[in-house]
Amino acid sequence: MAMRRLFETAVKLPGAPGLRRLTVTEEQWLEAARDLAAAGARLLALWASGQSHGSQSVYAAFATEPGVLVLMLAREQDGLPYPGLEEMFPAASRMQRAIADLSGLRSTDPDTRRWLRHAAWPEDFHPLVDEHVPPAPQSPAVDDYPFVRVEGEGVHEIPVGPVHAGIIEPGHFRFSVVGEKVLKLEERLGYVHKGIERRFTELPILEGHRLAARVSGDSAVAFSWAYCQALEGLSGAEIPPRAAWLRALALELERIANHLGDLGALGNDAGFAFGLAQFSRLKEQVLRATERALGQRYLLDVVVPGGVRADIDAAAADALRACVAQVASEVRELRDIYDEHAGVRDRFTGAGVLTPSLAMRLGVVGLAGRASGQAFDLRVDLPCPPYDEIRPAKVCRSEGDVAARVAVRFDEVMESCRLVARLLARLPEGEYRTVVPAPPAGVAVGLIESWRGPVLVGLEAGPGGTIRRCHPHDPSWQNWPALEHAIMDNIVPDFPLINKSFNLSYSGHDL
């Protein structure tokens, strides 16, 4: 009931469908968060906005039964911490620490360690609110991060990364182990902090989609679509149906390519190189057909404000349809091999279990959530056009182990192949792009289900077509803490496999 009341008092927010905004005081902020937690809401993002000499606000977006509620907490310049949400939503903790690092707003969270700030910039510099960037230190001080220590007989630590033996993104993992068994894993991220959010404020609002697509290269379509959705909401622009359908086509192709890549890599991490070779081949086929149809292998510049960059021609569409049909049939065969190979099954089944109750408590979203009984998919639960028309089937498993995350990927590839065929068959005629005028000042939120999970872009337009604040939020924020739980009681050499089964973004998280 409390939920309904909250939604009734909230005002509509432009951008994604079903969005509501509620301006709250500190007491209401906590009360609303408690009500939302009790109603099983999921935290989608938490970010702050504003200048150090002006007013600052903290935003929190929650997905719940009737839609998405964005709470806005205005902050006075009193220097007091705002109430943290980490008790109701554990995933909020790191977001609050990041806000403290970037915007200088402290929460009441007892964990006050720095998160995104390493020793690379002065301690009192807050990149999102301070205007002048201090000169970079000649040689950065050694960053002494207080990891949580595990004491006991036979316990020792294994520090891994940020530089790894293979070519992967940097992240530090601190294992506390007894023998091969992992007692605790603590992550330390932020090594690829590039200052994306500050860079946004220097760009014209009509060009921000290009940077949004580059937040996390594997989710380019999702980020650029979410950005454009927010922008178009602010401008009041209606995109033509064909444009929406082509965006959905791009999003599904991105999903297929990433899932295929992951399935191959998962096989390889289990020592089954055959899987890598086969899935890499299929992924390459999809990428080539994508390039023919949409002009790029990785769809970094396909979604533009008002629609898509270019139309698809009939011959390329046919080739794409044939390619996807062939990929679907081959994936079905490969799935049988993965399912029936004793060695692969032994590695996948029971490794890195994340139980549904724990996933619920931690607020795990997206693919990893759907493998642990969290049946939440924006394409089904809060569909934007054309998903309200083509109605994807939701995939959900409850085992929560590596095998379940593999199975969800297989199911989603098959479903996306079906969606691509359907999108191509029923593609509406008409324009593929419309003109979007520079929007008036205001706040909007875009929300798109990437292959990894819900991608949120919080966009605040300034006067004269500028960006006052843009927060691109990758679902990895919510899922990284879950990985720490999934590895517990597993053995050290299984970590790469479990990590790969989540395949979270470093770039999208470190910003």
């Binding site: 294994i158 891994v160 033996a165 293979g166 190189a273 190979h341 032994d346 050499p493 970590f495």
Partner: protein, 313 residues
């Protein structure tokens, strides 16, 4: 003549070991539908490393520098004992098959100590796992050798080989059991799938590679070369025990050597294909399944021994 065989054998091992590794890699690539690296790739890797400057950890002890030479030396010595081409080897009177197992163990101990020497987490991780594999693989290997010794009534490897080759072409069921056991030991000892993955880049799953992470340049080259030699040696032990036919013996004389060289190449080619096939068809075991794997090998070897003792076949 004996000395010629001896020198030829050691030289052949040194030269052919990287080639054999290249052949296995090529077969693996073919089986996985990848375009294969050149057969000479291992040589290029080793050559490149010899031209580089060595970087050694500040806190490395002399043991760390010494280990590559000890490990390499042990593998060359092992190659001198194993009758890959001929059975009249002056060196082999110095060490029998049990001493050979000890020689391989010495190399392992030095490699593990060196891995722990620098004190990085991965070195000790790898060394710890290597010792776990090693102490399970050695008894199985000894058991395999005992079966062959029982049949030929000696522990000298060339004599075993010669007797098995000459005695009769009859089939020994006991040797069939031990052949399977030996193959499993070979996979485990040479860091092949399903026990270890020589191609992995995941530092947390490594066994053999984790021990080499701190090595560079000539030290790494020697270690890699030694690993290739180890695989070659194991293959040759396998040939000596299970397909000894065709090696030059006292009976065949120098002409036998001419015949033995191409035959060894043929055996290695077939073994390489077999190895690649096993590695492609299986996934890597969870680390704690490796003891089960090696216990199975040991059990099979014991079965071979029982078959020999009880049935006399």
């Amino acid at each position: 003549m004996a000395w010629l065989t001896q020198i030829l054998e050691v030289l052949a091992a040194l030269v052919a070991a990287p080639l054999f590794l290249g052949w296995v890699n090529k077969c693996r690539a073919w089986l996985q539908n990848r375009s294969a690296p050149s057969l000479l790739q291992p040589y290029r890797g080793i050559r490149k490393l010899f031209f580089k400057d060595a970087v050694i950890a500040e806190n490395a002890s002399p043991l760390f520098r010494l280990a590559p030479y000890v490990v390499f030396g042990a593998m060359v010595l092992a190659a001198a004992i194993i009758p890959s081409m001929g059975t009249r080897l002056p060196f082999s009177s110095a060490a029998d098959a049990i001493a050979l197992v000890g020689l391989l163990a010495t190399a392992r101990v030095f490699q593990s100590l060196a891995a722990m020497d620098v004190g990085t987490a991965f070195g000790s991780l790898g060394a710890r796992r290597e010792m776990m594999i090693g102490f399970l693989a050695e008894p199985a290997l000894l058991m395999v050798i005992f079966v062959a010794s029982l049949i030929s009534a000696t522990t000298a490897l060339p004599v075993i080989s010669e007797r098995l080759a000459v005695q009769s072409v009859g089939l020994y069921p006991s040797l069939a059991f031990t052949a399977v056991a030996f193959t499993m030991v070979l996979l485990a000892e040479n860091a092949r799938i399903p026990v270890d993955n020589p191609a992995t880049h995941l530092e947390l799953t490594m066994i053999h590679e984790a021990m080499l992470l701190e090595y560079s340049a000539r030290h790494l080259a020697l270690m890699e070369w030694a690993a290739a030699l180890k695989l070659f040696n194991y293959a040759c032990i396998g040939f000596a025990l299970f397909v000894p036919w065709g090696v030059s013996t006292t009976a065949t004389g120098p002409a036998g050597l001419l015949f033995a060289i191409p035959l060894l190449a043929a055996k290695l080619a077939v073994a390489g294909v077999g190895l690649a096939l096993i590695e492609t068809l299986s996934a890597k075991l969870r680390v704690f399944r490796a003891p089960e794997f090696l216990a199975t090998a040991f059990l099979l070897a014991v079965l071979g021994l029982l078959v020999r003792l009880l049935l006399g076949s």
